[in-house]
């Protein structure tokens, strides 16, 4: 297999005496959906924050195609192709759905000095936004205010905004949270679709969904990885069954 797209090497984050992420090794490959599961407080969201650059590392390294990006800021990582979505919906509620996606796409062609050019006429970001909305099935509500969308649609917009930035790696923090059955199906189909030319990392609580779509599953407990492998391996892993799937008593 070729070099992983994004790689965490013994990544560690300490908050005072608490080690939230403890020596985590992780490989994200193009064409692969890598799910990270674990109980609340296992350090999954901290891991997403560290990979996306919102939180610095106490120890360890992050590499993007072999380049050490540990010290890169979040905006720089994003422009290099690491996109993320948020567990709690983080959109621009007062702007239109289209503008939400377009503004994110604009990060790739910022040109802030070109004051004479109207943002609304920016062809590059407009096209990227259109594609992202089409991919997530939001093209029909493009002109609505984002704050007026249903919860499920807002979750889709989260993904669309991430896609609009043209990422190679997608870090998705609980994209299925609070979604109905039908919306979940649509989202899973989208994830399978996106997997083809992105490296996907999925933090998720919905075990049925995870075992259906994931190619690799990593299990975290108390900040550390206790198991990592194909879904079948994880399902039958004795430690995972004890620690997480609630068996062995």
């Amino acid at each position: 297999m070729a070099e992983p797209l994004l790689r965490a090497l013994s990544l560690t984050r300490r908050f005072g005496g608490l080690t939230a992420v403890d020596g985590v090794w992780l490989d994200l490959n193009r064409g692969e959906l890598h799910a990270v599961i674990g109980t609340n407080g296992a350090g999954k969201s901290t891991l997403v924050n560290m990979l996306s650059g919102e939180l610095g590392a106490s120890a360890g390294r992050i590499e993007l195609e072999g380049t050490d990006i540990t010290s890169w800021s979040q905006p720089r990582r994003s422009r290099a192709g690491i996109g993320r979505s948020y567990q709690r919906t983080t959109i621009f509620p007062s702007l239109s759905v289209f503008e939400n996606a377009r503004l994110c796409a604009q990060a790739r062609t910022q040109r802030p000095w070109a004051l004479w050019q109207a943002a609304g006429a920016c062809a590059t970001s407009g096209a990227a936004a259109g594609q992202a909305l089409a991919a997530t099935g939001l093209q029909d509500v493009a002109q609505q205010a984002a704050g007026l969308l249903s919860h499920g649609q807002q979750r889709q917009l989260e993904i669309a905004m991430c896609l609009a930035t043209g990422p190679r790696v997608l870090l998705l923090d609980e994209p299925l949270a609070g979604m109905g059955a039908e919306e979940t199906e649509r989202m899973l189909a989208l994830l399978t679709e996106l997997k083809r030319d992105h490296a996907l990392m999925l933090v998720e609580h919905d075990m049925d969904a995870v075992f259906r779509v994931a190619d690799v599953i990593t299990v975290m407990v108390d900040g550390a990885v206790i198991a990592s492998g194909a879904p079948d391996v994880i399902r039958n892993h004795p430690e995972v069954r004890v620690a997480y799937l609630g068996e062995g008593h």
Partner: protein, 326 residues
């Protein structure tokens, strides 16, 4: 949605302003002049408060620096040329804004308010307590600037009529520049930062340089207002940099409507007229002596009844989300 006709009202107002001197008394022309200068000042703050979401309580520092530089650079050797005096005043205000912005933009919310206030007070005391600008009495501007090319005087700001048109042109330019910024990618990015800075960073925007650029532009435009104010009054004093002045311009923006360029202009008109009204002995008799009280009460009433500002009166058809966050 912006329609193609949004320019009609500002252009109509501009034409009306251009025609006004024909019908105005000297007193009311001076009042219109004062309002126009404060409108430039309020517009410059709107770039920070309404467009970027940065509430600064030290904006008067840049007004004062622009005004002082206009006077100090002129000196007593006759009128200065606008060709270098205008850039000098803008550059001085922008430089101090760069210094304040670099440090204050590392903080947020109420801390940002306090830090900008502290830096403005610092500048205030430099002019108040040192001999740089004549101490607490301030200094006079002995010769008003001119614009001369090849020996011919094109603009002489000592002439009331010419000063009036210069101020109207400055107001129109400021409004046009900010409108241009508002529709550009830069302005849309500022709006994104105002609504959700975390998401902007996640999308790939280094938000700090964006905010710093907005802060410096706003400072430079406040410096423009300062220069015009100094020329209009023919004198400067440290009170131009005081926190009262910073508070007044913030009130103009709030009174008119946060986030709207028209709101800033309307706020400057309303605040200045309200203050004139409250200070008028002809209308309020002995109460005019306590104008701070009546002005304060009037503003509280306005803000209570019109939480979206005066501009909110004319916009009934907005969507709920736009009203909530816009």
């Amino acid at each position: 949605m912006a329609t193609d006709r949004t320019w009609i009202v500002p252009v109509a107002v501009l034409l009306a302003l251009a025609a006004l001197p024909a019908v105005l008394t000297p007193y009311s022309q001076d009042l219109v002049l004062k309002i126009a200068v404060y409108a430039i000042f309020a517009l410059s703050l709107q770039l920070l408060v309404g467009m970027t979401g940065l509430v600064s309580l030290g904006h008067a520092a840049f007004l004062g620096i622009g005004a002082y530089v206009a006077v100090l650079a002129t000196g007593d050797g006759g009128p200065a040329s606008l060709l270098w005096l205008l850039p000098a005043a803008l550059a001085a205000a922008a430089t101090y804004a760069l210094f304040v912005g670099v440090l204050s933009l590392r903080t947020r919310g109420v801390y940002f308010i306090m830090v900008t206030l502290a830096f403005a007070q610092m500048a205030y005391f430099v002019f108040h307590d040192t001999k740089v600008g004549g101490g607490s009495d301030g200094i006079f501007l002995y010769a008003k600037p001119v614009l001369a090319l090849a020996g011919t005087t094109l603009v002489d700001l000592d002439d009331k009529r010419q000063l009036y048109y210069a101020v109207v042109a400055a107001l129109a330019s400021t409004y046009a520049l900010l409108a241009l910024i508002g529709r550009s990618r830069f302005g849309h990015a500022l709006a994104g930062i105002r609504i959700n800075e975390q998401r902007m960073r996640a999308a790939g925007f280094a938000t700090y340089p964006y905010k710093l650029a907005a802060f410096v532009i706003a400072g430079a435009l406040a410096g423009l207002a300062g220069l015009l104010l100094a020329v209009k009054d023919g004198a400067v004093n440290p009170e131009l940099l005081s926190w009262h002045e910073s508070g007044a311009v913030l009130l103009m923006v709030i009174l008119g409507g946060i986030g709207s360029l028209r709101g800033a202009v309307i706020g400057a008109v309303a605040f200045t007229l309200l203050k004139e009204l409250c200070q008028s002995e002809a209308l309020l008799g002995p109460l005019a002596g306590h104008w701070q009280l009546t002005l304060g009460l009037a503003i509280i009433a306005f803000v209570a009844w019109l939480p979206k500002g005066l501009i909110g009166l004319g916009a009934p058809g907005k969507t709920r989300a736009a009203q909530r966050d816009g």
